[in-house]
C-alpha cells in the first residue's frame, strides 16, 4: 500500500471513487457549486446528479419552474461527469457539441435529477447521453446527447 492510501478515510474503493468524483464535480468546477449541483452516484459508465430547486434559478417567478438554461447546464455537467467516470480521471474534457430536446415542462418548485451515460470513448472523442427528470427517468423533462473532446492523451484506442 502506498503511504497515501494509509491516509484514506475508511470505505470501499467505490466510496472513495465517488468522493473523488464529487470533489471534481463540485469543488473542481465552480459553476457547478454555484448552481448547487450534487453528484449522487457514479456507475460503471455514468453518473446521477441532482439540482435542488432554488428560486433564483427560476425562469418565470409566477410558475416557479426552473429556467431552460438551468436544464442545459445540468445536462452538460452530467454528460461531462459521465465521461470523466469512464476515463477514471479528471482529464480535460471539453464539450464539442450538445443537443437538448425539451420533452415536457418541468414540475414547479421541484428539484431536477439527471442520469448520464458515456457510451463510447475513442482516442480523441467521447460520446455521452443524459436525461433530466423530476420523478421518472422514463418520462424525462429533457434529453441530451453530446460529443466531448479529450485532451492530454486521455482517450483510448478502441
Amino acid at each position: 500500500m502506498s503511504p497515501d492510501s494509509l491516509d484514506q478515510p475508511p470505505g470501499s474503493a467505490a466510496d472513495q471513487r465517488l468522493e473523488l468524483m464529487r470533489q471534481i464535480a463540485t469543488e473542481g468546477i465552480p459553476h457547478n457549486r454555484e448552481l448547487g449541483l450534487e453528484l449522487l452516484d457514479v456507475q460503471g459508465r455514468g453518473c446521477s446528479m441532482r439540482l435542488p430547486y432554488r428560486e433564483d434559478l427560476v425562469g418565470n417567478p409566477v410558475t416557479g419552474v426552473l429556467a431552460g438554461g438551468v436544464v442545459t447546464a445540468l445536462l452538460d455537467a452530467a454528460c461531462g461527469m459521465a465521461v470523466m467516470v469512464v476515463l477514471e480521471s479528471p482529464a480535460a474534457v471539453a464539450t464539442l457539441d450538445l443537443r437538448i430536446d425539451y420533452l415536457r415542462p418541468a414540475t414547479a418548485r421541484k428539484s431536477l435529477l439527471a442520469r448520464a451515460d458515456c457510451y463510447r470513448i475513442t482516442q480523441h472523442v467521447a460520446f455521452a447521453r443524459a436525461v433530466a427528470y423530476n420523478d421518472d427517468p422514463d418520462d424525462p423533462v429533457a434529453s441530451a446527447a453530446g460529443a466531448f473532446m479529450l485532451t492530454r492523451g486521455a482517450g483510448r484506442r478502441r
Binding site: 468546477i29 455537467a77 450538445l98
Partner: protein
C-alpha cells in the same frame, strides 16, 4: 405576459430579462444595438467551469445563447407570447475566457407555429465566435385566445 408588453412599449428587452430570476443569477442582460437585440453575459467568478485555464462553464454560454435566441424571436416576431423552446443544439467552438460574452440571434425560418433561430456568442472578436446554437421554438399568436396547455 404584461412584462413582454412593457418591454416592447419601452423598446427595451432588458425590462423582460431583468424579471427572469435565472438571468439575474447568471448576470445576463439584453439591449438593442442599432435595432438588433444583443444578449450579454457579464463575467463573474461564479460562471467559471475550468478554474485552471480559466474558462467559463459551457452551461452558462449555452444559457446565454438560448435566452438570446428566445428574445430574438420575441423581438422580431410581432404579437407572440414567450416562445417555448423545443430543442437546442450548441456548438462549442473556442474556449470561453473569463470575460464578458455577447450574443446575437437571427431568425432563419419563421413558421406559423415553429420558429428556427441561429445564435452566435463571442467575446472580444465577433468574427471569432466562441459558440453557436440552432434552436426551434414553439410560438402562439397572442390573439388566439386560450393558451395551449399541451406543453
Amino acid at each position: 405576459m404584461a412584462r413582454v408588453a412593457q418591454a416592447r412599449e419601452a423598446g427595451d428587452p432588458d425590462v423582460l430579462v431583468s424579471s427572469i430570476p435565472y438571468a439575474r443569477f447568471l448576470g445576463v442582460t439584453a439591449a438593442l444595438d442599432a435595432g438588433q437585440l444583443l444578449g450579454k453575459l457579464s463575467f463573474t467568478p461564479r460562471l467559471i467551469g475550468n478554474p485552471v485555464m480559466p474558462a467559463l462553464h459551457g452551461g452558462t454560454v449555452g444559457a446565454l445563447l438560448e435566452m438570446t435566441a428566445m428574445l430574438t424571436v420575441l423581438w422580431q416576431v410581432p404579437g407572440v407570447g414567450v416562445p417555448k423552446v423545443i430543442n437546442l443544439t450548441i456548438d462549442y467552438l473556442r474556449p470561453a475566457a473569463a470575460e464578458d460574452v455577447l450574443a446575437r440571434g437571427t431568425v432563419t425560418k419563421q413558421g406559423r407555429r415553429v420558429v428556427n433561430v441561429f445564435a452566435q456568442a463571442w467575446q472580444r472578436d465577433p468574427s471569432r465566435p466562441i459558440a453557436s446554437a440552432n434552436a426551434h421554438f414553439l410560438i402562439e399568436p397572442l390573439q388566439d385566445g386560450a393558451a395551449d396547455r399541451t406543453g
